[in-house]
Assembly symmetry: C2
Homo-oligomer: 470 residues x 2
């Protein structure tokens, strides 16, 4: 893949802003790192710009807006749906320079940090103060503050702590025309003006570019003797019993910190790839909970015919259980040359029916669909494995992907719980909005986009864009 | 106060929609209940319409929108800022008919209910299932679902559970032109489309009228042995020690459920009015916390020179402590014929400085300003008591009100944490937005308003409206 040459006069203007060491074009070292993302969506950027501060971002956007050139903000490119794919536009990379912690405030319980900061780096620093930033998408070793806000990311701890948007107090953003704007206030409560912070959270870089953010932080679990937690697994000989255990636990009002579902096929893939040595039962529930709740959870699972359980022996052993779940996508990727990763949410009372349907889709198309996910909040990731070299296999996978989504929406579910829409799911996202919310909801969203970005330069062709595929 | 006569042809059209028993005009019984709200803002509605279902709301709005007649949604009228004052428009009252619980779902942990449902009624029903809706504005015996969402209300439990917007999954709304629309999905996670739910939360009825909502619910504290909680008070001989205790507790990462501040003046007013018999120290901190945290909290206060403490003896005694705080505004109202209730948020590290300033303002204008509030999240309610019959006293109170707000904003705080803007604080809200967020933020908000309500019929002259006062 080669670069589309950037217009020489545009390059010259941008060089004046950030200097040659901060613009990557085809001949520069490292440019190729921006041609692909973690979801394997490939496209060629016009150029990659690595600004050092917000003023530069503002000037760059003003220049690009004048020329109506598309621009995509990027942290680590760990999107799984094509959200950071440049599609010929300019990439603004926040990870190189704009990655600092500006303030850790343990009185007001927030951290102020730049968009390019890696989540694990943030948490490493926060841990020195006894705090952490709870949302934990599987990509925390790489993904960045700007990315997780723009994607409103989830993760395993979401079940207890909610998605990223619950943790954003205020944002500094740059609008498409270069205007610098602060949204919200770094305060626990603020009733002044419409909530533009949450409008930008999860908007996939289509409304504004986030330069820095005030994020809420929480005390690390285990502090002050109240929240000693244990990680453990419960094993089942069939999916139905596992799902019935989840609904029974919920109906009792019991709140674990994590509640994950793993199918045998998924567990087997991870064991083979990473030697995690987890027993391979037909269905596994993986929990973290306050230690006081552990007996009630295990007892409830027994009433639903669980076969066995395993409590992490020590911190290292608990980490093994956690990583067996965290490594899931990487494990499944070893099963075939192509994977489509679903990100379905269904109402919990429909979860059993939905998982059965996924299994039937696998049989129908003769495809492996290892399934796992954050079952506690009904968010599961059936992952369709196919042969990327075979047109027939790819077509089957496309059909399976769509079938699973339509069934989820029919059951009152959602196309995406945490991975977002990007370029991958525009058709399905629009379908869900029209069907469940009304045509006018989509109209209002597009009018808001038009208001914020009249020239449609911010991540065009993503999220709520018109679907151009057939 | 008499009614402005509603146009006869308009009345006739509205009567066709809801029937004469559901329209109050000047001659009807009960009309006078809608001329005043809990904040004593008085104004005369053109008519009060009490629809029985969403279709009626839709038709009514279409009719009013055609004629560009202002309309204000109303639950119980417990706004403290004039947000439900009709100012000559039509009131749509959801409390009479649209007040039902439609579904309690203990598997998916939500309740689906209509806008006019009273919060205490909701919680009474939820408690039968072991669940509750955590936000607890002091007006829960009267205030309604639609009201607390439109106001993004807070309360004492906000410190632990967040404000109402954290508890809203999805909404059914009617737009100004009568379009019925669902916003969001009743699912714990949903990444489809911009977050219009949070845009409407706290928008004070200026974007759409909420007809029914899916609210998250939580297990009642005390279930499953993990959250046994106690209510207790710690007493101080000066404000500084109390405030230092708060910041010391926060810096340790200790999270009580409630953390309230009460000044001697405030406590005295409540004791006198309601015989609550709370010791009157210069400063009181009122806590609810998991029982495990109680010793650490009391010890931390001792390091900051607390004088004494009192732990609720039993449930009834704990309720006495709670009500001493909950009755605050009613207690203070007995001190004078007029009160202005502030709703300031300041960063916690500025709280001491801010409270000192409030005291100095009281001295400067020779006004009583009893102060109390949700000190744990920096949200306090200095309440200015004045003589409503005296022009001089009222002018002093106006000046004190403004002085306190400007100082709060100067310290990095907010004009309002939970009571909102209404008609009372438009000037100050706009000031804060321009100063802290930028002129363009206000422009964007007004453009969003224009998009949703082109004829400006939904609660005009409130929230982010132009300030027409001098």
């Amino acid at each position: 893949m080669t670069n589309i040459l950037i217009e020489p006069d545009l390059l010259s203007r941008l060089l004046d802003v950030v200097g040659s060491e901060n613009i990557l074009t085809q001949i520069s070292k490292g440019f190729q790192d921006f041609q692909k993302d973690m979801g394997d969506f490939e496209s060629n950027p016009r150029a990659v710009i690595q600004p050092t501060n917000t003023d530069q971002v503002s000037i760059i956007l003003r220049i690009l807006n004048e020329r109506k050139i598309p621009v995509v903000g990027r942290g680590a490119g760990t999107s799984l749906t094509g959200a950071t794919s440049s599609m010929g536009g300019v990439i603004i990379d926040f990870s190189k320079h704009m990655n600092k912690i500006l303030k850790i405030d343990t009185t007001n319980w927030y951290v102020h940090c730049e968009a390019g900061l890696v989540i694990d780096d943030l948490n490493e620093e926060l841990s020195k103060y006894g705090f952490f930033f709870p949302p934990d998408p599987a990509s925390t070793p790489w993904c960045t503050v700007g990315g997780v806000i723009s994607e409103n990311s989830g993760g395993m701890r979401t079940f207890r702590y909610g998605t990223v948007k619950n943790w954003v107090l205020a944002l500094n953003v740059v609008l498409a025309d270069g205007t610098k704007l602060k949204l919200g206030e770094p305060l626990p409560k603020n009733r002044v003006g419409y909530d533009l912070v949450h409008l930008v959270c999860g908007s996939e870089g289509t409304l504004a570019l986030i330069t820095d953010a005030w994020l809420k932080i929480a005390p690390l679990p285990g502090a002050h003797g109240t929240h000693i937690v244990k990680k453990f697994m419960v094993f089942f000989s069939n999916w139905e019993d596992a799902v019935n255990s989840i609904t029974a636990i919920r109906a009792k009002g019991v709140q674990p910190n994590l509640l994950e579902f793993l199918s045998k096929e998924a567990m087997n893939a991870v064991n083979n790839a990473f030697d995690t040595k987890i027993p391979e039962y037909d269905a596994i529930l993986f929990f973290e909970s306050p230690i006081d709740l552990l007996p009630e959870i295990i007892e409830t699972c027994k009433t639903q015919h669980s076969v066995d359980s395993y409590i992490g022996k020590d911190e290292k052993d608990e980490e093994r259980l956690y990583s067996a779940r965290a490594l899931l996508l990487l494990g499944i990727k070893t099963l075939g040359s192509g994977v489509y990763n679903e990100d379905i949410v269904v109402p919990l009372d429909c979860l059993g029916k939905f998982l059965d349907y996924v299994r039937s889709v696998g049989l129908k198309y003769d495809l492996k669909i290892p399934t796992a996910g954050h079952a506690g909040d009904g968010n599961v990731h059936p992952t369709i494995v196919f042969d990327a070299e075979s047109e027939d296999s790819r077509r089957k996978a496309d059909h399976a992907f769509a079938d699973i989504i339509y069934e989820a929406v029919r059951l009152g579910g959602s196309v995406s719980g945490e991975h977002g829409i990007g370029s991958q799911k525009i058709k399905f996202g629009n379908y869900q909005l029209r069907r469940n919310n009304g045509e006018k909801a989509l109209d209002l969203m597009r009018a808001i986009k038009q208001l914020w970005d009249p020239n449609n330069i911010l991540n065009p062709g993503k999220f709520i864009a018109e679907d151009t595929a057939n």
